[in-house]
Amino acid sequence: MDFSLTAEQQLLSDTVQRFLSQHYAFEARRRIVRSPEGWSREIWGQLAEMGLLGLQIPEAHGGMAPAAVETLLTMTAFGRSLVVEPFLSSAILGTALLAGLGSPAQQEELFPAMAAGERIAVPAHGEEGARYDLERVETRAARRGEGWVLEGRKAVVPHAPAADLLLVSARTSGAADDAAGISLFLVPRGAPGVSLAAYPTLDGQRAADVALRGVALPSDALLGPEGGAHGALSAAWDLGVAALCAEATGALQAILDATIDYTQTRKQFGQPLAKFQVLQHRMADMLVHVEQARSMSTLAAMRAADPDPAVRRRAVSAAKVTVGQACRFVGQQAVQLHGGMGVTDELPVSHLFKRLAAIELSMGDTEHHLELFARSLSQGTDAA
């Protein structure tokens, strides 16, 4: 039992935080979000220089994976500063999928470019009607000659507009909700037949719906075994949920800090808001949520790469429930305690609030993960 950081981990955490406080303050971030692309290639390049884009790339390929603690620290810092670059999509999910499924040739081609920030590869998996079910895939891939043809639609793909490559899941066999029969393909974003309907999301990030109409791919576009992508998708998603929980922890701490500052500054009836007991107790409740979320994001980080899927899924779902509930409660109460200022665009609080709401809705919402966890209850007990 040890919660301490190594000197290297502490250094990494300090370095990332210092970088963000210098280059990613509220106004700087606002400019990035409002830029045409909605994210900063300059920042992305600097993240690459710090080695952060290699956190989930295997050591054999020059990366740092598994790097559970480093990912936890990085994502927590990103959450605090509301980083909008495609880190989770590409540097965690993209690299994890490539590590899980890629051939040596594919890995040798892509890992160095991804670590250097030159290639961005994001999963394009969700579909209309699939909600959060990982195995519901209706996009189809059929063999044509030596290669493949993709047909279907992907919905709300985070950071698709920023991607050079889409990692598209498509069914090569089985029914719409079979775990077996899902394959993954490397699809250049500009390939003929791929069209994006891009839009900003609630939290100032970018996403797109992706239409795939007769997209012809060479045989080496297949990533991993035909029909056998589900296990790697599920493993990558667990890593992603853990990273999302870590990000939430940073945003939760930031919004609680902002609320404490605001209520200590703002005076009504001749005294700071922070002196009113009803508000003190509300902030104590927020603190309990934040600390429980921090505990569970730590647990999820340490279990997310566990070789036993049952172990990691249990920790990850429990963490997402705890974090999701914290996102809702702490986010809403922070806005409430900021009063009128909380519902303006002017202060960080509303921006943090929107990211927390988006995190709650991403990669399985609270109800989804609570249901998964609840279903596992009767598996361990004798139901007879």
Partner: protein, 398 residues
Amino acid sequence: MDLGFTPAEQAFRDEVRAFLGESLPADVRSKVLDGLHVSPEDTTLWQKTLHRHGWGGPNWPREFGGTGWDPVRQYIFEEECAAAGAPRLLPFGLKMVGPVIMRFGNAAQQQRFLPRILSGEDWWCQGYSEPGSGSDLASLKTRAERRGDRYRVNGQKTWITLAQHADWIFCLVRTDPGTKPQAGISFLLVDMHAPGVTVRPIIMLDEGHEVNEVWFEDVEVPAENLVGEENKGWTYAKFLLGHERTNIAGVGASKRELTRLKRIAARERKHGRPLLQDPAFAARVAQVEIDLMALEITNLRVLAAEAERRAPGPEASLLKVKGTEIQQALSELMMQAVGPYALPFRREALEAGFRGDAVGPGYAAPLAATYCNMRKASIYGGSNEIQKNIMSQMILGL
């Protein structure tokens, strides 16, 4: 960072488990696991058993006859004891007055009182609350007047847990009424068998006799029973409250109760299927289990911080609030699990070996009483509202 236990800690857990398997009487074990009444004799016997094994003071340093375990080993010990169905050790001696005597008592007091706590010879109770002083403890009125080498004590204490079995009571008493409330309080050890001490039961909503009023009428207490300095009792009381709250998360016991809840919910039926497979009920069980997982990690984080700082911090308030919410949720869900069979209410069914006519499944009998009893958890030890005051002031700096 590593959330696993070290091989040495695992070996320690195995050692505790093996000891419990050999030494915990089967009848006591099943009383605890089934939520039935544990007698004072059961509790004392278990303290004596642990003492013979050298484990009478799991949270005490070696120099006072304790085990010298670090916080993680104490945690493992409590978790294994709870899981095995061991009776809860009395906190009043081990976790409350014991640490105060070690820290602030003199050598004579340490030699006189501490060994008898370890051996289970003395049963202690806590004399803090008064009819007019609950959460506002510093307003207490019980008066101790110095007369030569003795104090004369007059007043009334209330909510004294298990005072009906106690040999000693540690009291906060007012020794200087002329100064601000916190500055005139002393910490006094009083013999419950002394003339002038009267114990009157308070019957609680579960119809159980757990707490009492204790009256002092011209009780003569030797001045040597004063702990530390006169009028410094408030400092010692705050020290004690910190120690009391560290262990109040009750993670081990809640894990045991969660297992019991699942056992009951797997046997109960709804629409012809196990209740545990009902999506709505399963979601509520899942929610408590997840909250408990998070609390366990939070508890371990606090322990790790405590190991570095050597004293429980205000984070203990967080553990108390969340821990008691979980304890109450578990007792509520267990009651709800048996549906209408929670309604039949007979105190005698809480005794092991009850041979009367069972109404509904046997496990249903104590559930409503336990639900009622557990309402105390968010009130005692500094109500949860007081804990939120502490969190907002000491952690958040509001």
